[in-house]
Symmetry: C2
Subunit: 149 residues, 2 copies
């Protein structure tokens, strides 16, 4: 299989993001971590992939700074995979995918899980792109422009 | 190459979403459409993939209801690929990936494009997960629960 073209240095932030988390298994692992998983065996059970493949993938996510490796929280000899700040910052992306899917890919009346705020038990708000003043924006209200940092 | 396991009927909305848009080329095509591209040749030039591969991928996105095929807007014989409401609804996901990348994958001082509101010329707000009352939520403030629709 030909090696895919790297977008890791692409000037487009979307392309660069997809180079790091653009294969579906990557965000599935991050989802599992958001659900509280930390151990190799937990991820393996959830994802159902071979040990060597999962080990490679987790290693890749560690190299990209999305997970760090930590000693087991219960004092045993296990090591755990813990989301770094960079990994935790993917929360809005995963929630966006979840909400898009809930609205678009489930039949009316088809049961599914949803994301709730613990304190109130109410669903989180739909993810929306908003202007600095809080106005909800559609694609046509926006433009991509090169800016100096 | 073994056919990957389908997650299209997975009860987890995140998994189901990734079955549809979880390969990096899919969201790159959607990004290009958000940037105004509509024609096969435009996508091909942007993505640099072989015609037959791109044709298969666009066909798949049409079958998933993300693009529809329309006659050329200028009255020529070309056909155009136009985002459906389902495709347009991916806007917060793509913006989330962009902002994550801008914050996490670019060096300090490294130039990149950013997404602005046309009217004000100001950047759109950072995507955040918020509660019904507008409070910004971290992963630990939330839980996934099965709800009846």
């Amino acid at each position: 299989m030909a090696k895919r073209k790297s977008l890791r240095s692409d000037p487009c932030p979307v392309a660069r993001a997809l180079d790091v988390v653009g294969e579906r298994w990557a965000l599935l692992v991050v989802r599992d971590a958001f659900d509280g998983m930390r151990r190799f065996g937990e991820f393996q059970k959830s994802l159902g992939v071979a040990r060597n493949i999962l080990a490679d993938r987790l290693q890749g996510l560690v190299e990209e700074g999305i997970f760090s490796i930590a000693p087991a929280s219960d004092g045993t000899a296990y090591q755990e995979y813990v989301l770094t700040p960079r990994g935790l910052a993917l929360f809005p992306v995963v929630v966006g995918l979840r909400q898009w899917s809930e609205a678009q890919l489930f039949d009316t009346g088809e049961a599914h899980s949803t994301l709730l705020e613990k304190q109130s038990g109410l669903p989180v708000r739909p993810m929306q792109v908003v202007a600095h003043d809080g106005t909800v924006l559609q694609v046509s209200d926006t433009e991509v422009r090169k800016v100096r940092p």
